[in-house]
Symmetry: D2
Subunit: 135 residues, 4 copies
């Protein structure tokens, strides 16, 4: 999977929902692993003061959809999120949410990714399995 | 499940992530069913122009966490999201996302909800199963 | 969705894994809802004496794959399980496991079902969301 | 996590559902990783001739429940399956299903495992995320 050469990382998303919550894509490795983060602010939190579960789901959704799209667009195909399964393991209160997305299955009709979310102390805080439809 | 008497619906969320993406809680029925919506704007979208999958996940997370919390707080217990399983069925491009959350299991240690998301034409667009830990 | 006229319900599965654990399909309603059950025996249990979680997953897998297949085979398409998300809510120790599968989404490339599992006292014991690929 | 010294691997399960479908636990590593397999026979298949999805779910359920139980029983606590999320990636027709379960989160109230299922050619065929309640 080769990112278009014009992309420079880190890349702060500038439009849509990803810009609203402040997603930054940090890079895509040779093996397809995608790295991203969000710097936690008050507007990422739920009423109890911890990062809202929807933030983790959103980060995973974006980085895996984007990377799948980049990988298949050259063949005239497109990628679209099919399911998002997020498990919340440990709350994050501040600092950054760091995400690493690994492609586990690159099928003809679906890609499946596993995304680990960690805090600044490198503790696993959320896990997401994303299934992306390829058409 | 009895909402505190001081809450007036519809209630637009005013702090944190729910305020950022514009969640409005429309009401809570006698049987515990929660209704909510988000009016779709450009800042809810992913690059392809449809509502970002994270928006559905966020809506479900908030309405079920909040309602579970309201139901158990009287016993000195608290509620926290444990897992969020969202299936994306049909894209939404504009109008509103309407959500109906039904409690399917009210256990001692977990509550399980199913949340249906529909568009303005009442078509099912996303389904979320939320598991909330009660402690 | 019209079941082939030659099928008579209840239909005890006679080959493969479904025969091994004793799946009985009780019927398919006009609206596509499928009903099935398994009579609990010692060989359905895990070491602690309750019905093994894999039994619920297996029941849901079979009834939704079969019903989707019957619905799309006429168009020369086939159905194959893509994901199975089972939540365990309450243990079953004896009697029967009763399953009701409702089609929630009949898309071109995927069908999504929700399956409720109850015990003889009609208590909800497990919930399964099945996603079936249609090709 | 230390398995009781009296267990000898490989250990073929001899009672209940695990004996019915023929689960063999191959070992537990120092880091808690569990290895198991099932030799595929006709009675593991669904009508189309491939291994039934319920078999993968069952394998994951057993190995993670058992290993969590062994790890927490010394503290007087017990383990019980809470949710099973299986993604089917590639069919298996014969040979063996090989499973490797890794503990990703060992919390006070839940353990979360990821289980990879491969065929005899070491191709990833199914992925399971198991959440086990600890009480």
């Amino acid at each position: 999977m080769q990112p278009p050469t014009e992309i420079e990382f880190p890349m702060a998303m500038t439009i849509g929902f990803d810009a609203l919550y402040g997603l930054v894509i940090d890079g895509i490795d040779e093996d397809g692993t995608v790295r991203a983060h969000v710097d936690v602010d008050e507007h990422h939190k739920q009423p109890a003061g911890l990062v809202h579960g929807g933030v983790y789901a959103s980060i995973a959704e974006s980085m895996t959809s984007m990377a799948t799209h980049m990988a298949v667009a050259g063949d005239g195909r497109s990628a679209q999120g099919m399911s998002n399964q997020t498990s919340f393991l440990r709350p994050v209160f501040d600092g950054s949410v760091h995400a690493v997305a690994r492609p586990r299955h690159r099928g003809r009709t679906t890609w499946v990714w596993e995304v680990d979310m960690t805090d600044d102390q490198d503790r696993l805080c959320a896990m997401v399995r994303m299934t992306i439809a390829v058409r």
